[in-house]
């Protein structure tokens, strides 16, 4: 830490997101502004606290002389987490690492890797890892009138209510499969502004040419599906179990494969209407 601290830092800032206090410092004036678009949702600037939960330090690279490029280097604490000649790669890593940091260290919330929408005043959580089709399903649900909470994290408070983590929906480009942001307003949708109790938990994944079939499962299985996707499951198991139990206790739990997103969304909403 002393080595990094010996570098000259041009500016720094502190912010908080979901109760996690993050510090950023950069080696070039004005560079912090370039990081702002990559901060997690619900961030707000705070006065430097006595203790930070995480500190990110960016040694800004770029063209120093006409024939020399220097690397952009990013540290989290004392560990180097990125070294690249392409700033956009550094921003991607910063954004990804910061989100996991917030998800892991938040003491007030439990982060489930899941998509979440609101329907008739209750939240629907769809837990699942990458490449299970969550974002595509969320897009279809939002187009059908559901309120958007997130396509990445269902954020549970200690009472089991879901809070928004409203980043743009990440849609995968067809050839490269690289994630591209899609604004909720651009598809005529609305973003949730208040927390909601959980009405349903749907554990599903996309299967090509499948017909969407969802069968009902027990609250215990729903809770297990949430724990299986909880970022802090090993870090704070007691807090995770409490929040996921409260989230599952009154929810309909559904499981099964899904086909095309629009059909799956219609089927899911029809089930919720009948419940």
């Amino acid at each position: 830490m002393q080595k990094i601290n010996r570098l000259v830092w041009a500016e720094g800032a502190c912010f908080e997101s979901y109760g996690v206090r993050i510090g950023i410092r950069v080696s070039q004036p004005g560079a912090i502004e370039r990081l702002v678009p990559f901060l997690p949702p619900q961030w707000k600037t705070i006065e430097p606290p006595r203790e930070l939960d995480a500190l990110y330090s960016w040694v800004v690279g770029g063209d120093r002389r006409s024939n020399v490029r220097t690397f952009d280097i990013l540290y989290r604490g004392v560990g180097r987490i990125a070294r690249t000649l392409k700033p956009e790669e550094l921003f991607e890593i910063f954004e990804a690492k910061l989100r996991i940091t917030v998800a892991l260290l938040s003491r007030r919330f439990v982060f489930i890797h899941a998509a979440a929408v609101g329907w008739r005043g209750k939240a629907v959580i769809m837990p699942g890892r990458s490449f299970t089709g969550k974002s595509t399903l969320v897009e279809a649900l939002v187009r059908a009138g559901a309120e958007y909470f997130s396509d990445e994290y269902a954020v549970l408070d200690k009472n089991g209510r879901v809070h928004p983590f409203a980043k743009p929906i990440s849609v995968r480009a067809p050839v490269t499969l690289k994630q591209e942001p899609l604004g909720v307003k651009d598809i005529g949708g609305t973003t949730a502004e208040h927390p909601m109790r959980v009405g349903a938990i749907l554990a599903t994944r996309y299967r090509e040419r499948a017909k969407s079939r969802f069968r009902e499962a027990s609250p215990g299985q729903g809770m297990l599906d949430l724990v299986a996707n909880a970022v802090a499951a090993r870090w704070a198991p007691s807090r995770v179990l409490t929040a996921t139990r409260k989230a599952s206790v009154g929810a309909i739990v559904l499981r099964g494969s899904r086909g095309e997103a629009r059909e799956a969304a219609e089927r899911l909403l029809a089930i919720l209407e009948r419940a």
Partner: protein
């Protein structure tokens, strides 16, 4: 002799420091901090587990359950459930405990159909994810953009396996794993 020992077994549920237990509408979730295994006991399994107090024999546990099954079948079901608990560390282990049967095997043995198996004890187990595992879980062979996206930590940069997660740097030869 073994059967006699089993009959006298008084299983005790492991409700020690290393287990976190949550009840949700009759079911029980148990998180074992050693090994980070999480078990979901359905209602019948939870009721049997709660009766494992170290004082009741298997027969007495079976008698304590409300069930439409005849006493002998009920005891078989309890015996199988407790054998499972022993294997999973949910009761103090008993080396004499027989290997537990699957639900399907048990249903066949006691002669009940698929629909009736819902009344049988069921334990579903998972391993709690690590933080990285829960957040990004791109397995080998799948597309990636950053090494940080991959479970293995290697998003390959070489011409043949470009932009796919690979097991390690050895598999991804030549240009190797992306450095970011």
């Amino acid at each position: 002799m073994a059967s006699q020992k089993m009959s006298n077994w008084r299983p005790k549920a492991s409700k020690r420091k290393g287990l976190l237990v949550e009840e949700v509408r009759g079911e029980v979730l148990v998180y074992n901090l050693k090994g980070h295994r999480v078990h979901c006991l359905n209602d019948p399994a939870a009721r049997i587990w709660n009766l494992c107090d170290g004082r009741r024999t298997l027969k007495q546990i079976a008698e304590g359950l409300e069930s439409d099954l005849d006493p002998a079948t009920r005891e078989l079901v309890v015996r199988n459930a407790v054998a499972q608990f022993s294997r999973l560390g949910l009761v103090a282990a008993n080396d004499e405990a027989p290997a537990d049967m699957s639900r399907r095997e048990l249903a066949r043995k006691i002669g009940i159909g698929a629909a009736a198996t819902v009344a049988l004890p069921l334990i579903i187990s998972i391993i709690a994810p690590t933080p990285a595992h829960a957040a990004t879980n791109i397995a080998n062979g799948n597309p990636c953009t950053l090494s940080a996206d991959c479970q293995s930590g290697c998003c390959c940069a070489n011409a043949t396996l470009r932009n796919t997660c690979q097991a390690n740097a050895g598999v991804c030869s030549g240009a190797g794993c992306k450095t970011s």
